[in-house]
């Protein structure tokens, strides 16, 4: 009997733990078992050849063979009956599963006598500590992110202010047109970005509003771009705030405050630092400059999100740099992204991606940020 077995049943495209464990992509669910140091996949006929060729595992066994055995024992076996036979064949009576393991499967396995224990995240703690190969992959996606942002900046430079609109190639410039430019640039580099934020003026004041409609001059434009490489599967994440035209003094002051907070946050990132303490200090830098946070007219204003999060095979991974404490460890890749949001003035967010190291951190972001870009 093996009580230290790990079991994942998921779609590797949607479940980074399964992809991390196998480096195998499939659009349909499959079964991963790790027992006594061996990695075993239970695969459908449709994927079994590709899995044997591509998956970084020790053994790939046929789901349909186990389905045949299950039909000998039960008249209409459930998928989990088949998985149960598979576990039995490997002497597994107890499994540790990810926190996200599907409840229906867990309850059915428990009904068959298998002990199922959910492990709180992170399922593979080693996933948080990136290898040099993984850091290189993230840095590469980051380069592509910056090229996409630069393509959008070129459009803003080429465009002309006409009254309350910005014109480009003879038409009013829109968020949609800028996103298309960003997406085409990313695609040229095998990256895919979903939910890119290009938020002008008041739209940016809701940090998750993805933005839409015409670009207006002299207002903040927040670009938050977080694509994934289709090749390596690693994400990057960057935010820059620019203005087409001339910023108000209020907006420039806000920018300087966010920049100061961000630089202070980056300064504090190092192996052993407390994410909670960094977040508190970043918030303090904004507060001492007079930027208050709280509900105004029923709407949150100021700085009301976390300072940062881990990035890797998921766009949001542990650790967090936020109100909840996480100690930072060397080899983690985290964002540092304070922001300020006020209905009166607009939005500013500045985000870099850094690698936690022994005495500090290494910034993977090269895009300029030291002054508010007025284009």
């Amino acid at each position: 009997m093996n009580s230290d077995a790990l079991l994942i049943i998921a779609v590797s495209e949607a479940d980074s733990n399964l992809y991390y464990a196998t480096r195998f992509f499939a659009p349909d669910p499959f079964v991963f078992l790790q027992v006594a140091g061996r990695k075993i996949l239970l695969m459908s006929d449709l994927e079994i050849d590709r899995a044997r060729a591509q998956a970084r595992v020790d053994e790939v066994v046929s789901l349909s063979e186990y389905e045949g055995k299950a039909r000998q024992r039960w008249q209409a076996p459930h998928f989990i009956d088949t998985v149960g036979l598979f576990l039995e064949a490997y002497g597994v009576q107890a499994v540790t599963v990810p926190a996200t393991f599907p409840l229906e499967y867990a309850d059915r396995l428990r009904d068959t006598g298998v002990q199922v224990t959910a492990r709180p995240d992170p399922f593979f703690p080693e996933r948080l500590i990136k290898s040099e190969e993984e850091i290189a992959a993230i840095a590469e996606t980051q380069r592509h992110t910056e090229m996409a942002f630069e393509a959008a900046v070129r459009v803003l430079r080429e465009s002309r202010i006409r009254g309350e609109r910005v014109h480009w190639q003879g038409k009013p410039l829109t968020v949609e047109a800028l996103k298309k430019v960003i997406n085409i640039s990313l695609m040229e580099n095998d990256c895919v970005a979903q939910h890119t934020i290009v938020a002008c003026g008041i739209d940016g004041v809701d940090p998750h509003n993805q933005g839409s409609g015409p670009i207006r001059p002299n207002e903040s434009i927040v670009f938050d771009i977080f694509p994934r490489s289709s090749r390596t599967r690693y994400f990057a994440d960057m935010t820059r705030t620019v203005v087409k035209g001339t910023a108000s003094d209020d907006l420039r002051r806000m920018y300087d405050a966010v920049l100061a907070a961000q630089l202070r946050g980056i300064e504090l990132v190092r192996d052993g630092a407390s994410g909670q303490a960094i977040h508190a200090e970043v918030a303090r830098v904004l507060e001492v400059r007079g930027y208050e946070t709280g509900s105004v007219d029923g709407r949150m204003q100021g700085f009301f999100h976390g300072t940062g999060h881990g990035v890797g095979l998921d766009i949001h991974e542990p650790p967090r740099i936020s109100k909840v404490d996480y100690p930072l460890r060397g080899g983690q890749v985290v964002t540092v992204e304070p922001g300020l949001y006020y209905s009166r003035w607009g939005a500013v967010r500045i985000e870099d991606l850094v690698v936690v190291e022994a005495g500090g951190c290494r910034n993977l972001t090269r895009a300029p940020k030291l002054t508010l870009l007025e284009l």
Copy 2:
């Protein structure tokens, strides 16, 4: 006490049930409760304003308020403690959750005395029966899919055979270049396709091989394109098989067999039909033409996947037209996509998207298929 309460905790971007229930998109998890006919969301400060403006629910309540209450009761409350207080406030002691509900959350809720029952898919049976509005959205994505395919066909028409290569715009034409053309066309229509298959010759013989490298003349090229509209969130799905140059007689015969099987399958799709019976008949049409299915040299050959699947907010939904029985119902949208795969000859798959109706089905696919396209 309400025992008929539904609870979902998920990321609506990844969980179509949650999106279906709320029509609200957020990149981070949130909590959905349906009790006594009312839909209630528990939302973070970051999303609460947007949720109140956009979500199709009856009430949006503040997560941070419940977190405050939880901190009065426990020193370091877990997220699920907060959810427990929320359920308590609405008099809920028993919840039905999706099959995919995270095990860690379920076990913690059970520890607090809440009865948690996983409902096997479909969680919302009504999701399978598409409204006219939903069918229109799927049909629209299908139009964009066909435009993308036509863009690729134009490239194949413009390209020239030179020996064992195909040249386009002065360079050897590759799968990667064709996918770029497809993706740009989709992007122009706010669609995103992941894992598009453009598989030439032997690559196509593995039905899930996405394809790569040079396009070779006189070989089968399988295009399987299944994008999602970023606007409506509905998928479409289409497969066509073409040849650049001239097909062998064997390949043409295979094409005719797959076409006959597909037309027969479509003929049988109607309200009340058995998915299992349709799949068996489609397989029979291939068999009587002499196309056998089974392992050859350790590799599955012939027709070894299902005939079809539902399409909607997910690319793979119930019902299935396969070895497992599902009765088809009017208003379902399903693919019909038999294929043949032989190392010797190549691959053929033909896939249309149809709406199940009372006496038959309505084909949403307009792209030609009645003869093998030799370009």
